[in-house]
Each structure stands twice: as structure tokens, then as C-alpha cells.
Symmetry: C2
Subunit: 112 residues, 2 copies
Amino acid sequence: MAKSLLDQHQLKAVAKLFGLLAEPTRLDILQNLKKTSLSVGQIVDATNAKQSNISKQLGILHDAGLLKRERQGNLIFYSIADPMIFDLCALVCGKLRKDAESQLALIRSLGK
Amino acid sequence: MAKSLLDQHQLKAVAKLFGLLAEPTRLDILQNLKKTSLSVGQIVDATNAKQSNISKQLGILHDAGLLKRERQGNLIFYSIADPMIFDLCALVCGKLRKDAESQLALIRSLGK
DNA sequence: TGACAATATTACTAATTAGCAATATTATGT
DNA sequence: ACATAATATTGCTAATTAGTAATATTGTCA
């Protein structure tokens, strides 16, 4: 069995997907969409970003296939296209929490 | 139970970690370190990036706590600090593969 | 049709950063 | 001490992009 390393093209694709999750505003949008689909206005209210920025980031996430779009009259509702992203976020959050706990334990042991 | 959304600070931390994985060169370094630790020179040889850039990216990954560093005489060996990152990459790769397969199936059904 | 509300787009600025060549640092062997 | 090899750092440029205000588009209702 060979080494099976990703080639340049594949690395770029993986990097691009991670890049989509590398912005706080986009993560905020995604976590707000975790339970239910929301209109643009609702997302604007739920976050503290401007409408134009939210619209832009929604477009980016939609173009990348992470979000679905559905028009309902005057409103446009966005929803998660692939819940896998929450698995990613859960892993990262778990790691950060674990790191923080070790850090805390270290500090405690020093202060003793 | 409350909504339990991450706050701005936490979102930033998560985004930062994803950002580390959002560069092909860094991903390439990480996948080369998956099986064993390597010296800087070995990593330079394994990738097609220049020494100065590899050194810089190694520094970034090390500062972020994703890599461990160990001097052995004249060489400096880097290794993975937390294998969790490979879980992240596996998830992403799985998604990309699945997406590509659906795409392929779609094309096939159209061409029929 | 016209006013209005929701969303998207445009044009721009400021900030970040990958990559590079050149140079500096650090360790080894003689 | 000196030459050499390995790695790190510095100074720089080009490219990307988040965020914003202003404007355009699209749909609804009267």
C-alpha cells in the first residue's frame, strides 16, 4: 500500500473548506442555523454583523454548498446543507476545551 | 437548557484553529508528519515549498500547539502534538469524496 | 402602478499573510 | 577558531478578503 498522501489539488480543496470555517462571522451564522432555518433578517438580528456582510457571507457559504437557499415570499431562508460541519466544530470545540482544562490544571498545580 | 451558542471570543478561537488548516502547505506538512516525526529538511524534500516557507509554517503550527519540536544535534524534528487534526481532515476528505461521487452520479444520469 | 420591505451587489478600504531571497543563528566536526 | 550544514528570521511584495456604506434588485401589497 502506497503512502496515499493528498496531491496539491486535493490539498487545495481541503484547505478551501477549512477556510470557510475560519471566520467567526461565518461560524456564527452556521451555529445559528444549527437548529432551524432562518431568514437573512433573522440571522442579522441573531449576530452583530451588518446586513450587507451577512448577505455576503451567506452567499459565500451557499456558493460553497454548505447552505441551502429557499425563497418564501419576500424572505429568503437559509439552512444547513450538510450537518457534517457540526461534527467538525464539535471536534474543534472539544479540543479547545481539553486544552483549556489541561492549562487550568497546570496553573492549579503550580499555585499549590 | 439555553441556546448554548459560542460567544465572540470562542468563535474567534475556533476560527483560528480552522484557519491553521486552511493552507495547502500547512496541510501538506501535517500529512507528511502523520506517520512519523521528520526533520525540517525532510519536510522540505517531501513538499515542494522552499525552506524558508516551511520553516515559517512549522513555526506557526508549533506556536499554535499543533506540533511538537525536538532538537537532535544539528537537526530539528517536528511531530504531531494532537492527532485530533487527522480526525478533522478525515471528515473533510470524506465529505469532499462524497460530494464528488454524487456529482459523478448526476453527470452519469444526465448522460444516459 | 407605486410605495415599501427584504435581500443582494458594488466599490472601496484596511488588514492579513503566503511566499521568496537574503541573511542570521545555531550546532557540528576538524 | 573556522568552515560547514541545518534551521530561523527579516524585509518585502502580491494577493486575498472581511467589513462597510451606498445602491440595486426583487417581491408584496394596496
